[in-house]
């Protein structure tokens, strides 16, 4: 299999029976193609991209969501960026294909933050494409392809699976993202913030998205220690692995009587549990999820880019907000408030975390009217690095 040129292969109609003809469970290696890797990227480039590879000279965001690239050859390419739910169906992908065939010579791209990008080379097509995209709506009225996500605004929220498809989440992902993006929609299609604001959501501490370095991070947390299923644990996990899974040594081997029978199991020192969930990842007989206990923590001020200041972690400013499906109003309100206060007070080019550091975190909590609690003081590894060891601090509501 040469997958550097698959055009001919793709042109053939899908043969629904081929796999069953080729695959014989008794001889599993027969007809098996393995280790071919992904198709070579170049065959998916629109002509203007292929012709100007490595020749791009400059770019301009001509309107929110539309970036014009100019090549040294004089060629021009407009990239039109649209938000998406990330969790999308084959019907929607086919609709994307239909648009790409009509305006973009049959090519389309996705960004790292789950936006869809269409490429056109002339302004007439650009206008027609934008009109078309803006007119496509879901039955409930939402845009299918909202244009935006560029410049000093808010782009798509990177997020995880949540209750839609994960076994360890403390919160849903898609529902929270939809609720937050609905409320902050105006910032997706505009450039009125001081700098870009990157919001990310992870539905548990495993953090399958890079929420630990986001301007605003929405993080699912557990608050009840794991249950232990004594009657099941030896059948589904190895006890030493469960014990070793705990970073705080809070899990110890134990023997208990179940229905008059001695069984090997574990016990959890609940006072030492920090609810990381690593034990459940290693052992299915130690579930943490709990409707009352689980909820959202908000962290802010992280960044990834090396621009002006170094990349940095997001900091925990709100330790817990209850799960409020289907619209998570408390979470949405908190995020909107932080975004608005940042927008009113930060300097041009200043990221949220740089703003908070410039004014001081005491002032950040004051301006955003967020109560400071002991939960925001670190007590894990390297905690001391975050303590204030100078007499330089500001007077704020906390000292008045």
């Amino acid at each position: 299999m040469d997958n550097t040129n698959i055009a001919e292969l793709l042109a053939k109609p899908y043969d629904k029976e081929l796999a069953e003809k080729l695959y014989d469970p008794k001889k599993p290696m027969e007809n098996r193609i393995t280790d071919i890797g992904p198709p070579h990227y170049e065959q998916f480039f629109p002509p203007v991209i292929k012709e100007n590879y490595g020749k791009w000279k400059s770019h301009e965001i001509v309107q929110p969501g539309v970036i014009k690239y100019v090549s040294e050859t004089g060629a021009v390419c407009f990239a039109v960026r649209c938000g998406s739910a990330r969790l999308i169906t084959t019907d929607l992908i086919r609709e994307i294909c239909e648009i790409a065939d009509k305006y973009c010579e049959g090519y389309v791209r996705w960004t790292t933050r789950n936006n869809i990008e269409f490429h056109v080379t002339d302004e007439e097509k650009l206008k027609a494409l934008l009109d078309d995209l803006n007119g496509r709506k879901n039955p409930g009225g939402s845009y299918k392809f909202p244009v935006g996500g560029t410049g000093a605004g808010m782009t798509n929220i990177v997020h995880t699976q949540g209750w839609v498809h994960c076994h360890t989440p403390a919160i849903d992902a898609s529902g929270v993202v939809k609720s937050v993006m609905d409320e902050l929609f105006e910032y997706f299609g505009s450039h009125k913030l001081p700098a870009q604001v990157r919001v990310a959501l992870a539905c548990c501490l495993n953090m399958c998205g890079a929420v630990h370095c986001s301007d605003i991070a929405i993080l699912g947390i557990h608050r009840k220690p794991p249950l232990v299923e004594d009657d099941r644990i030896t059948g589904v996990c190895e006890i030493p692995l469960a014990v070793a899974a705990c970073p705080l040594g809070a899990i110890k081997p134990a023997t208990v009587e179940v229905d008059g029978e001695k069984k090997k199991t574990v016990r959890v020192n609940e006072n030492r549990c920090m609810f990381c969930g690593n034990c459940y990842t290693m052992c299915p007989a130690m579930p943490l999820a709990d409707g009352e206990g689980d909820g959202i923590a908000i962290l802010v001020g992280g960044k990834i880019s090396n621009r002006i200041s170094a990349p940095k972690f997001s900091k925990l400013i709100i330790p817990y907000i209850p799960n409020e499906p289907p619209r998570w109003p408390s979470t949405v309100k908190v995020i909107k408030n932080i975004l608005e206060k940042y927008s009113e007070n930060a300097n041009k080019y200043e990221r949220l975390g740089d703003w908070a550091e410039r004014i001081g975190w005491e002032r950040f909590f004051e301006i955003c009217d967020i109560p400071f609690t002991e939960k925001s003081i670190d007590d894990y590894r390297l905690a001391y690095d975050t303590y204030r060891t100078t007499t330089q601090f500001k007077w704020s509501v906390h000292t008045d």
Binding site: T34, D35, L87, C97, T168, S174
Partner: protein, 430 residues
């Protein structure tokens, strides 16, 4: 309407309104279009909204023959209510570098997934794969045969193996890319197919490739080995364009601040004063940069893309050990190789030699589920440098240590550590 049954989902249905694309509408429409799995998924989601807990079981080991990754088992814990999603395994398909597609490719994928799966996907998973959400065990081999035989596609990584490498848009559409991100990503992916498909590592290992320090794939925060484009000569300056920015003819930051009145562009305040190393100044009407003092943060280039461009002696900075918090806390990546040329002609030999040494050490010493960055923490940066045969340089640390607890070795000390206590006592009465 096909023969499908919609569950009563009043809470989930509330997510149809509002301007942002509704995943509920999309999935429900696909359901009405003949996919009971879609409607069952929304039904189970409604139950989760009611209980505020997930209804997916823990794990289940499934896969395709000869691979140890790429498929993740998933089962509903309420299969009687939602039989169409009783088995709902995930298949990760390795994306083409930087995620350009032809519609022919996507349509074929849709046909396979409509026929053999739920019709639901993630475009894309966090690591970068195309994620096919939801099929049963008996369909895994046929999906794999369809992908390889009819699409020229292959699975991505999962478990304790090399995860699917990913990269930014790079030279395909960005003037700042200092390295050929797609080619590097593709080359590493093809070179390490065995490591990608057959778990043999202590835990996951990720490569990400960004073309410049803006780092659009978040390599510095997310991956064990970050390859980030940079340069070591001079920022290219077009003084006429600098004047055009100062005169207001060109929009600062390529128009990124267009919807707010920030006043007239002020190069001193917006560029020179914000430079982290203070290496720029205006000399009359000319912008001067002391490139030796530049830390390549990209701010000036981002603000004046028509006037400033990265230099021409380009390569990559290699940083290692980033990860999310589980277990020892989140880590950003640490500078390992300040600069290497990313040379296509020698098949990126230099980075591969380095990676070999990293993997040798990690596979020998790494504990189960210990990320590479955690091994460095546990055994020290010094041990990392010894194992990878790197010379310690100040670029690897933010500042020198402030405690004096140096682990001297006997060889470093005159006369070694063998001493005679009697001789000591001959000089010093007890």
């Amino acid at each position: 309407m096909a023969d499908v049954k919609k569950h009563d989902t009043p809470m989930v249905d509330e997510l149809k309104s509002g301007p942002w694309p509704s995943f509920v509408d999309d999935i429900e429409q696909r359901g009405f279009n003949g996919k009971q799995a879609c409607l069952d998924l929304l039904g189970q989601l409604e139950l989760s909204y009611k209980h505020k807990e997930t209804h997916w079981k823990h794990g289940g080991i499934v896969g395709v023959f000869g691979y140890g990754g790429g498929v993740i088992g998933r089962y509903s814990d309420v299969p009687e209510e939602f039989p169409a999603i009783a088995h709902f395994h995930t298949i990760r398909v390795n994306q083409p570098a930087s995620k350009f597609y032809s519609t022919a490719f996507l349509r074929k994928l849709c046909e396979i997934w409509d026929y053999r799966g739920s019709g639901m996907t993630n475009f894309h998973g966090s690591t970068g794969d195309m994620v096919l959400l939801g099929t049963s065990t008996d369909q895994l081999e046929p999906v794999f045969f369809d992908l390889t035989h009819q699409m020229g596609a292959d699975l991505g990584g999962s478990g304790s193996n090399l995860r699917t490498p990913s990269c930014c848009v790079g030279k395909a559409r960005c003037e700042w890319s200092c390295i050929d991100t797609q080619d590097i990503c593709y080359n590493l992916t093809m070179t390490f197919q065995d490591e990608l498909h057959r778990p043999a590592f202590p835990y996951k290992f990720k490569f990400k490739v960004s073309g410049c320090p803006n780092d659009c794939v978040a390599a510095i925060a997310r991956c064990d080995c970050a390859i980030i484009g940079t340069w070591r000569d001079e920022i290219r300056i077009d003084q006429e364009a600098v004047k055009a920015y100062m005169g207001g003819e060109l929009k600062p930051n390529a128009g990124a601040h267009s919807d707010r009145d920030w006043g007239a562009f002020d190069i001193q305040k917006e560029v020179i004063d914000l430079c982290p190393s203070q290496c720029m100044m205006m000399d009359g009407n000319e912008l001067k940069i002391n490139n030796r003092e530049c830390v390549r943060c990209m701010h000036c280039i981002n603000v004046m893309p028509e006037a400033l461009r990265p230099g021409l002696d380009t390569g990559a900075t290699i940083l290692v050990g980033a990860k999310a918090p589980i277990l020892e806390g989140a880590q950003l990546a640490t500078v390992a190789l300040p600069f290497i040329k990313m040379d296509k002609d020698n098949d990126y030999e230099e980075i591969k030699d380095f990676v070999d040494k990293v993997w040798d050490w990690w596979m020998e010493e790494g504990k189960n589920r210990e990320r590479f960055g955690e091994l460095i923490q546990r055994q020290s940066m010094q041990e990392f440098l010894r194992r990878t045969e790197l010379k310690p340089i100040p670029q690897m640390v933010k500042e020198p240590r402030s405690n004096p607890y140096v682990f001297w070795s006997a060889e470093e000390v005159e006369g070694g550590w063998k001493r005679d206590v009697k001789t000591f006592r001959a000089r010093h009465a007890a």
